[in-house]
Symmetry: C3
Subunit: 343 residues, 3 copies
């Protein structure tokens, strides 16, 4: 029993601590093919080497969400095994694309701790960094979780709450080297609308829905070596249901957003996100987006667009929160991100 | 709402129109591995680089049905999003094998339109071509579908019904460059019977059955970027069932046909095909074949065989149609194709 | 009907016979990605090229169980299509790692036959060898199965029962060329315990559980081109259940054993194994291990550990057999293997 990992509890975290996460991972075309089988992903830059080359890249990178899931998955045994809730994300930036054959590893620095007033749990903030085999920074983001205390009698640590940007500004974003949308083929991309056609405040219903299956969300979650019991073990929750990894909903909603946002090709910033309600097998996931902001960039032909991506189950309205300010029960995800789009 | 693709309606098609379909796709070994996970595919030429080399090819190509599904999938948003029925195929030819790393795109030319007498729908014929990154023709086929009219009051177009060959003749078939079956290893291929052993009119029961799961048909269909709602969204049909992509049944039946036709290695021609009845999760798919024709070819050791491939659910008989000439309810697929076999 | 493979019956086997199994298979990164999607596999040597290079290997090999499943799968049509039971394994040795791009084939030599007293069935022992495209031996193992007779009146063959080692000794094991654990990174591997920390007799509960889905076990089993009807066809058994391939449980349990045995990196020997009870979709698989033996090796920093790996459903105890000496109903697998671990 003593040789198995019981996970960290609240009192095991201290500000300044750096946790080097286990199990580096080489990702290649197999992971890409699986991504296309698990999600209705059609963004052309991630589908075709030739299309990517016509946009100034050496070949098609792995999907930005593959980078996120692989980096995130490694943190689970160290950060969220005893987590009660995944509270938020901030300051997420994609720095270097992931190319087939790259080996990713990740580490997290504890940047905040705050014990809750009930004395049983606390909030931990970590800044996670994903690196490739050249020690280049691939991705970084801040995440905070509520974690159980091992011993409710343990003394509370000094409270440190990090100052986080409510949203990245366009100047914070890193544009992949060489990216050039001046020769962009809108017809092959599957969408005539360009950066100039989207207006701040505009909402887009992505129309399509996907009914979720146990086998699919488990395969996806395992592929990222995310091992949280609650996703895989039907005996773990009293209701016998397997809770679906929140990242599965992000990828599903992002893929569905192709229909209306096919030209929002690359994700470069994550401003925030909430997994508003749990999703279970049998739910039908739909998505809508809202244009929150727009910005120009220095890269040729490349504009930035800040989007709210909302995933829902069943419902087909743009309603998000109730009069009490809480997410409505049909809302699964409320994500705030920056993407790059041809101007 | 206006930025999402609502699909073309009958009055949007005109003879001579060429539609360049969106989202090119690079396919590699990941797609091949998934094909082997989703279908009981065992034809040796598509399983082993060494076997393919012993047959004169540089290495093992991707399965002919992968080529078909990828090319077909791209046409869905432009051709069949508002289709009521997939009516038929003709004049299908595989021209150039697909090698791992190839990037496929496709385009369709409208070659026929005919409004139905009810005034609500019409039939559209398209000739679809799949090309690789060298602009070589990989695959072409004619397909016709029944499509809804947007406006039932719209005037009917001039009727054009293309003349299509009831079946390709052997001289229409393209044999892959270098193919040579003179050193064919029948033991490694898993089947002692050669071209000369099959007689016209002979029927072969492929014995095995596979029970279909939602997760599998959705992963397969997504992998080809086929996004028709009816395959994925359990809320779309009044009966709450997800209709299985007809191509899933083709691949399943073709893979099952290994047991009795392991040497029918390469598919080179598609003469016709009918998706006779819908298939749903839980159905157990079986298959039988009938030898329709045989022909010699110029390639060393290579014969051609024309086969009827029938997929059924549950039943284990060779019955196909009732006294009324209609397919029996247990028949899922009736496909007519040419394959290459060692003489 | 005559062209389909009905499989061999007991009287078709004779000692000395060598069966060359059909359908060679090229395996690459796609198979590896699928392995990571189907099982919670996290052993670092099979996850990261860089980690493998730091252990003296050219890059990350394919999982040892991929090698086993591919070699095993080819034997099914020739050895176990008419098998009533899979009785045991012995003398299994992994000789040469499988690298992405290798092409595997397999052959089996009949080394024993013994008709059962009921006259209806018999036991057949085969030694199966897997080879790569360079004709190097990749893997060998002995397996014995109970097979039906075609004709109960057929004369019994002379009984030959091979002498098999109850367990391999450490000197029988082949250490992959170049393997060097002196610079092993325990933190990246995800486990602080090394060879010296494990004691003979020690038992480890691997804690996690995975609930099994039809789509997943069928995809896994198909991926290895294992075509036994009972795994795929829900109409085959009177109870309408699909029996899960025993190898699926081996891979699942081995992957779960990461939590407590993350440093038992490479499997090099298979001493024996029993599929104690059948597993069906919906069962939740757990695992525990017992340290049976330890040995030093000549390779730098590399120790060998002999482990019992037990898979169970639902139960969370170390109980294995009842007072009658029979496996308890919740035990799925009892496997005895040698693994390599940093000292």
């Amino acid at each position: 029993m003593t040789k198995t990992n019981a996970g960290r509890f609240f009192e095991d975290y201290a500000v300044g601590q750096v946790i080097r996460h286990a199990v580096p991972r080489t990702v290649k075309m197999g992971e890409r093919a699986l991504y296309h089988a698990l999600y209705p992903a059609r963004h052309a830059l991630y589908s075709s080497d030739q299309f990517a080359q016509d946009c100034g890249l050496p070949f098609s990178p792995l999907d930005d969400m593959i980078a996120f899931h692989v980096v995130f998955g490694k943190t689970v045994p160290d950060v969220s095994l005893n987590a009660v809730a995944n509270l938020g994300y901030a300051e997420g930036r994609w720095i270097t694309p992931v190319w087939p054959g790259d080996t990713l590893r990740s580490e997290s620095e504890v940047i905040g701790v705050k014990q809750n007033s009930n004395g049983k749990t606390g909030v931990v903030w970590v800044r996670t960094r994903g690196m490739n085999q050249h020690d280049e920074l691939v991705l970084e983001y801040v995440r905070w979780v509520m974690v159980r205390k091992r011993d409710v009698e343990a003394a509370a640590p000094e409270t440190v709450v990090p100052e986080l940007k409510p949203a990245l500004s366009a100047s914070d974003l890193v544009i992949p080297k060489g990216l050039d949308f001046t020769g962009y083929d809108f017809e092959l991309a599957g969408e005539p609308h360009r950066w100039g056609d989207y207006e701040i405040g505009e909402k887009i219903d992505h129309v399509d829905g996907v009914t979720i299956e146990e086998a699919e969300h488990m395969m996806a979650t395992r592929l990222w070596q995310n091992t949280a019991k609650v996703h895989f073990d039907a005996t773990f929750r009293p209701d016998g249901q397997r809770l679906i990894y929140g990242g599965h909903i992000i990828s599903m909603a992002r893929a569905l957003s192709f229909n209306g946002l096919a030209n929002a090709q690359m994700i470069v910033g994550l401003n925030g996100g909430a997994h508003a309600n749990p999703c279970f097998s049998g739910d039908t996931v739909r998505a809508w987006s809202e244009v929150l902001d727009k910005a120009e960039t220095d890269a040729p032909g490349v504009g930035a667009v800040r989007l709210r991506l909302v995933a829902t189950k069943e419902a087909e309205s743009f309603e998000l929160k109730g009069e009490d300010g809480k997410y409505l029960p049909h809302v699964l995800l409320d994500l705030d991100y920056w993407a790059l789009m041809p101007v």
